[in-house]
């Protein structure tokens, strides 16, 4: 076992809170969303007034969606104004050759086993940053906008209908919007698998305690393993 060289405080409390609230909301949203599209259980016979077989699922879906949205907005605020070295947008510059060039290429090569030595980043590496931008930033934004557009459908002329209703003609109709919202939901389990795998692998290969860092906030640098 290599000796501990350094302990680095990487994920500050707001980032860790965002991460776990986001994780819980995503699981709740995905589960209830699938149920709404395919309601499985049948209520016992009786009058409709006694049952909440669909409205409860929808209620949980909408409630977690609003927590998810607020949490996302908070994380955006933190990324821009938080002054957090490891949790800001500043490091993500896909338009810049200095970002897109060598560091990104090296990381991709490393993932493709084309390099023996892994580049080491304390925060997100460039490939992780790109994945987060595509899956979490773009994915969440699409889900929030399309979700609010659909949420506004039962109150025409209301706030959500006015501000997000343009999503409906953009996607070619209410039905297509529902369908796109449903299809895009699947990017979250796909992301979850890649995310967990990458975290566990980096923890095993680099031994930076990245798995526990999202609970404690600390990552570690350890001595090269003595041969």
């Amino acid at each position: 076992m290599g000796r501990l060289i350094e302990e680095i405080y990487v994920w500050r409390l707001p980032v860790r809170l965002y991460h776990w609230i986001n994780a819980l909301c995503t699981v709740a949203l995905f589960g209830t969303g699938l149920y709404i599209a395919f309601p499985l259980f049948n209520p016992p016979l009786g009058e409709a007034v006694f049952y909440r077989g669909m409205s409860w699922w929808r209620y949980i879906h909408f409630a977690s969606a609003f927590i998810f949205t607020a949490n996302f907005l908070f994380r955006m605020y933190w990324a821009v104004f938080g002054g957090d070295k490891y949790g800001r947008f500043g490091g993500f510059r896909p338009w810049s050759p200095s970002w897109w060039g060598k560091p990104f290429r090296e990381q991709v090569e490393s993932y493709l086993f084309l390099r023996s030595k892994e580049p080491n980043y304390v925060g997100h590496n460039p490939v992780a940053a790109l994945a987060h931008f595509l899956f979490i930033f773009c994915g969440s934004s699409f889900m929030i906008f399309s979700g609010l557009a659909m949420y506004g459908e039962n109150n025409p002329g209301g706030f959500n209908s006015v501000w997000f209703g343009w999503m409906i003609p953009l996607l070619g109709g209410s039905y297509t919007l529902h369908w796109a919202h449903h299809l895009m939901a699947w990017i979250f389990p796909i992301y979850l698998i890649m995310h967990l795998y990458a975290v566990f692998r980096h923890d095993v290969v680099d031994r930076t305690s990245v798995t526990s860092s999202i609970i404690t906030g600390y990552k570690h640098k350890v001595e090269e393993e003595p041969v």
């Binding site: 699938l34 599209a37 395919f38 309601p39 259980f41 049948n42 209520p43 409709a48 007034v49 006694f50 049952y51 909440r52 077989g53 669909m54 409205s55 699922w57 993932y111 086993f113 023996s116 459908e153 039962n154 025409p156 002329g157 209703g165 343009w166 409906i168 003609p169 070619g172 109709g173 209410s174 039905y175 297509t176 919007l177 529902h178 369908w179 449903h182 299809l183 939901a185 699947w186 389990p189 796909i190 698998i193 890649m194 795998y197 692998r201 095993v204 290969v205 041969v227």
Partner: protein
């Protein structure tokens, strides 16, 4: 018939009392979703304004819009074509035919230049210069352009004229397009549905005649008065939806009990129309009322959003029809398989590096 009669003149000539005339005005205001204070405006418009001339063209269509229109109960079809609008040209309903009828169309276009309403039923084939739809010896594409040039406004009747309907469903062999793709410089009111509800059709005409303006339109160009809310939001089976009580097969007990048709592919939650409010055939019933799921006929490209009896649309994916969940499961499986393969290679590499290190030592 004099060409500049007002509605009130026609009513009087037909022996309709003033009391009945006012009743009609009130009823019309209700259908238009107007407040009672607007009734005098309707009375004034119908008394003083000359009837609005209407030219009604038929393109690629099945005439179901006309079939619906002639079943209007408030007001009835006789009232409409003899008394309400001045329906100057309609090749389906006219007594005359051939050149005589085409002359009437040209005369109306000249006499009421910039004042007549052009009602279009059906869509336009534009492939091969529109040769797939010939009416009166000319392509419908040419006739439409010619007639639209001097129109005050255009009403696109039905799903065909509004969005394309079955003719431009995939693969669209005749290159059919909705009216709005051909005519860009005129205000167009889209009144979709396959067919639209008859009272909606007469309501739109009355609105234009009363106020001289288009009714307020939604983002798809449909009059808000009739297409502002979803069928789902006014559906009398909504309670069963919220309770999670669904029909699961067309011959189960739930069907007899009239539970929600959501699981049978009902498109009510994504369809904007007045079926669950105004209903059909003088308020007799509507599709969901008779136990059939809504097929979403007033929504754009509804034929391509099938099948009608499942909740999730099938999407062509890699040459096979698949739904969103199948694609999702396959993608998640692929991600998991990729991660597993990557882990295996990492393990092998690590083991190999370990052996080399040991050898070096």
């Amino acid at each position: 018939m004099q060409s500049n009669q007002t509605f009130a003149d026609v009513f009087k000539a037909g022996g309709v009392s003033r009391r009945d005339f006012l009743k009609f005005c009130s009823l019309t205001s209700v259908y238009l979703g107007l407040s009672p204070s607007m009734v005098p405006n309707i009375v004034e418009a119908l008394e003083k304004k000359p009837r609005t001339p209407v030219i009604w063209l038929h393109g690629q269509e099945c005439t179901c819009c006309s079939e619906s229109f002639i079943r209007s109960s408030h007001p009835t079809i006789e009232d409409i074509i003899f008394n309400l609008i001045s329906l100057d040209y309609d090749d389906v309903l006219s007594a005359t035919a051939g050149h005589q009828l085409e002359d009437v169309r040209r005369k109306t276009m000249k006499d009421y230049k910039g004042k007549y309403i052009l009602a279009v039923e059906g869509n336009v084939s534009i492939k091969d210069d529109g040769v797939y739809c010939m009416v009166g010896g000319d392509s419908f594409l040419n006739t439409l352009k010619e007639t639209a040039a001097d129109a005050a406004a255009i009403i696109a009747w039905g799903a065909c004229a509004s969005f394309g309907c079955v003719q431009n469903a995939h693969p669209n062999p005749s290159g059919s397009v909705p009216i709005s793709d051909v005519i860009k410089d005129k205000p167009i009111i889209k009144v979709p549905g396959c067919p639209p509800i008859s009272e909606v059709m007469t309501g739109v005409v009355t609105h234009f005649h009363t106020f001289g303006t288009l009714p307020e339109l939604d983002r798809f160009g449909r009059p808000k008065a009739f297409y502002n809310t979803r069928i789902h939001d006014k559906c009398y089976r909504r309670a069963f939806f919220e309770a999670g009580m669904f029909v699961r097969s067309f011959d189960d007990d739930a069907t007899r009990k009239g539970w929600c048709l959501y699981k049978m592919g009902c498109k009510g939650p994504t369809t904007y129309n007045s079926c669950s409010k105004i209903q059909w055939n003088g308020g007799t019933s509507f599709p969901i009322g008779s136990g059939h799921p809504c097929i979403g006929c007033s929504e754009p490209n509804f034929w391509d959003k099938g099948p009608f009896y499942t909740r999730l649309a099938e999407v062509p994916f890699l040459g096979s029809d698949s739904n969103a969940d199948k694609i999702g499961v396959i993608a998640v499986g692929a991600a998991a398989a990729g991660a597993a393969a990557h882990a295996a290679i990492t393990a092998v590499k690590k083991a190999k590096a370990g052996t080399e290190d040991n050898d070096n030592a």
